[in-house]
Amino acid sequence: MTAPNVRFSDERLANGLRLIISEDHLAPVVAVNVWYNVGSKHEVPGKTGFAHLFEHVMFQGSKHVAKAEHMSLVQGAGGTMNGTTWLDRTNYFETMPSHQLELALWLEADRMGTLLDALNQENLDNQRSVVKNEKRSSYDNRPYGAWFHKLQEHLFPPDHPYHHSTIGSMEDLDAASLEDVAAFFRTYYAPNNAVLSVVGDVDPAQARAWVERYFGQIPANRAIPPLGDMSLPPVIGSESRELVEDRVPLTRHFFGFRAPRMGDRRFDALEVAAQILAGGKGSRLHRRLVRDEHIAQDVGFFSLGLIGGASIMAGQVTVIPGVDPALVERVFEEELERLGREPVTDDELARARALIETYELEALQRVDERADRLSMYATLLDDPGMINRQLDRYLSVTAADIQAAAAEVLRPDNRAVVTYEPADDTTTGDAGEETAA
């Protein structure tokens, strides 16, 4: 198959806005994608959930755009849009018919340049209520809903910025004031803290001129406070466990491991390992736990790439009623530890590579995905060219690489295990899965 060949330009406006343009005229569609280098890791104690609440405020209007008008303008133009908040960043994106590109650029510029002109208490209170309902609906009123937040608490020490969830706590959401919101905007929503990617059916010279026109005069913030040192010991040091009694019918174990940062070769190896462990019916965990020993209802194992101190490798297994949960946990862990003891077979590696190649090419067919990845690699790794090299990095992972990375990471003293078991009393909590507006 052909390797990805996404051609793009990469430049900075005088105010520091990083602009990436990639031309592709296959479909009459263009994607606009802005990544701000601010996420829940920038929140301080007492203000959790703030980055995400702010993301909602970004749809409440700016000087020349009324409340909720962002959505009606984009959808009325035949486009789609959303925003999401995660530990490392916040992003905003529109996919438009290509003749509506200028509208999307103007909308993004207006809120980057003039959001505070429209900010008011009524809109903040309304979105606070919406976000609290998002928390109830995505985490509190959902079986196993708080699992990821619990893993975060085990994998990162209390003073670490990854310790708390992206959705935040109800108390902190209640405490957010207009002044907090304004200060957050002035600090982080500056052009020199953002990457703007424009991908698709676009004339690059025209797009560049529009970006210069709408964004060029938005002032930079030359005093963005640097994040503190987020480095961590590579291994937790001892196993961490929690038993949660919840309104769930089946016992489920969640596993978390501290892993190398995104961009580290060992992280690539672990992503390939995840495919071999749990990527479909041919994978090791599915085969052994679900199919052969028939002790699990379902299994999962996947990576969550982060750049501050450590990434996360996470897994889950749902125990079949009547089976000893301890046995299921043991077998699951045995399979992870086996990866560190002996090399995967040539056939397993070949199958994983072939599938990863298809998944990558499938994802890169869409302009919105390409724009998101360009913004991501530029924001997190300062290297948008990774969009073309990442597949090769996966395909060059060897059995020895997987064994070494697994031995280093998938070990008992680097593991958190959160077990949900049935109880008639409900405990609720909050977790920070990727949160969309």
Binding site: M71, L103, V131, R136, E362, T428
Partner: protein, 472 residues
């Protein structure tokens, strides 16, 4: 110019590029099976869907869930590839295989590089034609489904979905039961039962292979070993009247409230609606536009009221799920517990308003422009195009349905929307189905008098576990 001068002027759209839905060809094989091919240049991957016009609504009630379980069991082994060998063979090709069934049809699909399409299609054929349904694996899949039903009960949103459909349809309507079967029918889904259903999908006259990507019809015909004498023709067939539909009926003839009590729930999951419309309704386009205004657009009436004004919910949507027969019309949301009664009131008032008064020209334009404008975005990849063509085949719609979609939406008027709302939203037989904390909201709910109230205090599976019925 200053930033203010620049930003105070809204940009005008440029000249739209012309867009037409990709044209496709049809070849009818001697067996009667159709091969639809859509050539989409520049894409490295090909999508292929093998579609049979026979789904869960065609199975007998006592075998409910058999079609879905059969689809799941097909990847558990075939005559040539026992166990997971077929999956492994597909993985070696980098082919992602999927097998699924829904109410209307059965689909086996594969995405793969164009150069490996022949090998991938051979695997697809093996999987569809020669599954072995091993006893032990079928037993395991049955158990997985029964365990999943426990999860459905515990998860408020899955519980309310199931309760809503079983409420609105009369007994005997297939759409009222879960497509994957329930506690009564799943235990009876033996390998023999799956084989019986499997024989019914071995029907070339109800089968189409739809392929899209950077390939030609000749490539596809060669790949499946079809005769070189077959000539693909441009697809231009009218609607196919031979597509049948299951018989469905409403189980509700007056407003009702069915509340599933969940002590301590912080939100109430709500579904409000009734039996809706089949896909081949003549009002399809007016209903699409009306649904967008009511609950489809981000700034739909329901969203603007319950989310952006009141803050009762993270999101609320409404729409018609159209199938070969009348699928459900539903308003769907989850609201904070104390807002349960006001949320129902606001929803009902929006349903009445769209029936009683015409939408504004601006609302009509917003919905129309969105549906027309977003249409090309929906079909960026071969997978999306193939999926849409498969939908046409399953529903028996004419070949030009997608080509004329945008013009048909454009022709919808304010009066059409009003008529669609009056004709297809039925206030007098709305079912309001909720999963939430009844003890907190019950008194207000009774006072509101939305309809005949029934409260269900069901035991959760966790409580069953404590009672010893499930050995945990």
């Amino acid at each position: 110019m200053t930033l203010e001068e620049i930003l105070s002027v809204r940009p005008e759209p440029g000249q739209p590029r012309t867009y037409t839905f990709p044209s496709f060809t049809r070849t009818v094989l001697p067996s009667g099976m159709q091969v639809l091919v859509v050539q989409i240049p520049g894409r490295p991957l090909v999508s292929a869907n093998l579609i049979v016009r026979r789904g869960a609504s065609d199975e007998p009630a006592d075998l409910a869930g058999a079609t879905v379980l059969m689809a799941r069991a097909m990847t558990e082994g075939t005559e040539r590839y026992p166990g997971v060998e077929l999956i492994e063979a597909a993985e070696r090709l980098g082919a992602t295989l999927g097998v699924d069934a829904n109410w209307d049809g059965f689909v086996a699909s594969v995405d793969v590089a164009a150069s490996r399409l022949p090998a991938a299609l051979a695997l697809l054929a093996e999987l569809v034609e020669h599954p072995t349904f091993p006893e032990a694996d079928v037993a395991r899949l049955r158990e997985e489904r029964l365990n999943d039903l426990l999860q459905v009960k515990a998860d408020p949103r899955r519980r309310v979905d199931q309760a809503f459909t079983s409420t609105i349809y009369a007994a005997g309507s297939p759409y009222g039961r879960p497509a994957a079967g329930d506690e009564q029918t799943v235990p009876g889904l033996t390998p023999d039962a799956l084989r019986r259903v499997h024989r019914t999908i071995q029907d070339p006259s109800r089968t189409a292979l739809v392929v899209g990507g950077d390939i030609t019809a000749a490539d596809v015909l060669r790949a499946i070993g079809a005769s070189v004498d077959l000539v693909p023709t441009p697809a231009n067939l009218p609607a196919d009247p031979s597509v049948g539909a299951p018989t469905v009926a409403s189980g509700v003839d007056h407003p009702i409230v069915r509340f599933y009590h969940r002590p301590g729930a912080v939100q109430t999951e709500l579904r409000i609606g009734h039996v809706g419309l089949p896909r081949r309704t003549p009002d399809f386009y007016a209903v699409q536009v009306m649904g967008a205004i009511l609950g489809g657009l981000f700034n739909s009436r329901l969203q603007m009221n319950l989310r952006e004004d009141k803050g009762y919910t993270y999101g609320i949507g409404a729409g018609f799920d159209m199938r070969r027969a009348a699928g459900p019309f539903s308003v769907r949301t989850a609201v904070q517990t104390p807002a349960t009664v006001p949320s129902i009131s606001e929803t009902l008032s929006e349903l009445r308003r769209i029936r009683e008064t015409e939408v504004t020209p601006a609302e009509l334009a917003a919905a129309r422009d969105y549906l027309i404008g977003v249409f090309p975005l929906r079909f960026e990849t071969p997978g999306a195009v193939v999926g849409a063509l498969g939908g046409l085949y399953v529903q028996g719609l004419p070949d030009d349905e997608l080509t004329r979609y945008r013009a048909a939406v454009d022709a919808v008027s304010v009066a059409d929307v009003h008529k669609a709302a009056r004709d297809h939203i039925h206030i007098d037989r709305l079912a309001i189905v909720a999963v939430g904390d009844f003890d907190t909201v019950g008194a207000d709910l009774e006072a509101a008098g939305f309809g005949e109230l029934e409260v269900i205090r069901e035991e959760l599976p966790t409580e069953i576990a404590e009672g010893g019925e499930v050995d945990e």
